[in-house]
Amino acid sequence: MLKILKYSFYDLMRSRWSYVYFAFYLALGFVLLFLNNDVSKAVITLMNIIIVLTPMIGTIFGVMYYYNSKEFTELLLAQPINRNKIFMGQYLGISLSLTLSLVLGLGIPFIAYGLFKSSAIFDFSLLLVIGSFLNFIFVALSYNIALSTENKIKGFGYAILMWLFFAVIYDGIFLISLVMFDQYPLDKFSLIATMSNPIDLSRILILLKLDISALLGYTGAVFRKFFGTNLGMFLSISILVMWVVLPVIRMNFKLRKKDF
């Protein structure tokens, strides 16, 4: 598995898209910090971008890589190597290279602008951890979709739809149900609804760490009480881990039966 991981990792690291992605984050970080020299303010702006963009890039990269390297994968499958190892190697290769682009691309400008002297270092590392989680989650989800769909175009379509669902449609349904049922106590509902979407969960985790938390009023108090405790933090991190583990398990399950 490590060998395949190594190959796909190097393959991706050499590819143009990794550089573009890395350069994009590098430019973004420098421009943000250049425009408002304040590290802690830049973290807020960055949150908006990471939460929308990382899942999207993860999704597209995952699907693209699967379909592009299909022939090579089939060649590998002809060798006496365990299937799970091939695909896990590829999956980890993509996720790691994306995460590396993210961490280095944003880390370098922030360190250059004195992150270590700033109080925002904790918020920033939380942001990077959550960004990495989102990478792993959405690559796994898109790999699932790609594995289940033979047709390339369909696969792409489903993957984009999946991203759209988590990033936009889910929140729409969430908001409508909040407005519809506003006669009922909604804090438990909103807590659960937030927890079950990785993008929402990441957004709330970052928002609560930032000063905006007090704005959330009564609901915010419920949220802060929950996420502020060790149990809440542990639970939300474990839900993020679940979001990685479950798709990976399904991927392995699917692989065993799939006829290439």
């Binding site: 303010k41 936009v168 007090a214 609901t219």
Partner: protein
Amino acid sequence: MLRGGLILVFLSLGFLGQAKKIEVCSTCEISSIKKAVEVAKDGDVIFVKKGIYKENSIEIYKSITIYGEVGTIVDGSNKEGIFIISANNFTIRNLKIINVGISYIKEQSAIKVFKSNNFTIKNIVLANVYFGFLIEKSHFGKIINNTVSSLAKNEANSGNGIHIWHSSNVEVEGNEVFGMRDGIYFEFVTQSKIHNNFSHNNIRYGLHFMFSNNDTYYNNEFKNNGAGVAVMFSKFIKMYQNKFIHNWGSASYGLLLKEIYDAEIYNNIFQENTIGIKGEGCNRINYKNNTFLRNGWAIKIAGACYANIFEYNDFLHNSLDLSYDTKVNDNKFENNYWSEYTGYDLDKDGIGDIPYRPVKLFSYIVNRTPEALVLLRSLFVDIINFSEKVSPVFTPDDLMDINPVMKRIND
């Protein structure tokens, strides 16, 4: 001629002799402040030398001056209040007063003044007190350069720093108040000035203002207070050049205005408050040249606010600029700077060519369903805000800044 001169000399001698100076110290003839007050006459001066004086309930009904030096400490031993004064033309200054006990029956304070005119309280340091200065039914007083602090833990067993009730023409200047329930408390106080004070880290309000008309407050700083500043049920107030900073909390305001008529609010800075200004039942207020920086809500207007004018204010990076409860709009927003304004200025006259709508659809939804706030900064919310901006359906139609300014005004 000679006789007249002699009479003058005698008279002046007589006056000099009358203003006696009484010294108090542990080894002096008079070793307690209470004793000194007893022997003093109107116009006398009591000098309290350094040392610790454990005294309570020093009652003063004479027009005298009491002052101390560095190291003069009056210790109330956590029992009753310390100075109780009812006299005209008195001065008390340069003392340190500590340890006034908590009482649930009496408002025990370091210095209580009632039914007095022309008083001066200056350079007094209060520490660990229940109430600091308690001024009742007094007029023409000055409270200058004092420091009031305590270790208040909750609202029920803590008192106010500078508490003024039913008075007029009082000047509160240059004080620092922290760790109390309310920093400065005004009730039924008229024609008074509050300026250059620093009120911070109080449990409830930095400044609490009730039924007090025709007052002015300026150059004050209110920071980190539990609920910010509350101004209620008052008319003709002027507030300018104040700073309202970092009043964070789920029920916290920079400035809470309730039933305020005909006020002038200008040149203030509201920075990092949950709600910059919350207005309820406020009419005919002019908001001019204020800066709203990084607040949760810059302005939240509840019902019954009419004929208010918002002009030349800077709205910078607030999560939500304006929240509005009703569909009716009788307030005027004009010539403000909005950092979220995305319009253009083709004729380069410094004023945007298309109007700005400060109320977003999301802030309208949050007003109706507060729980929806968990969706703040979600992509979906940005999308619906955009579509509402293009064609307003839910937010008040006419609520807009027709002439938004392109550059920061109050830099």
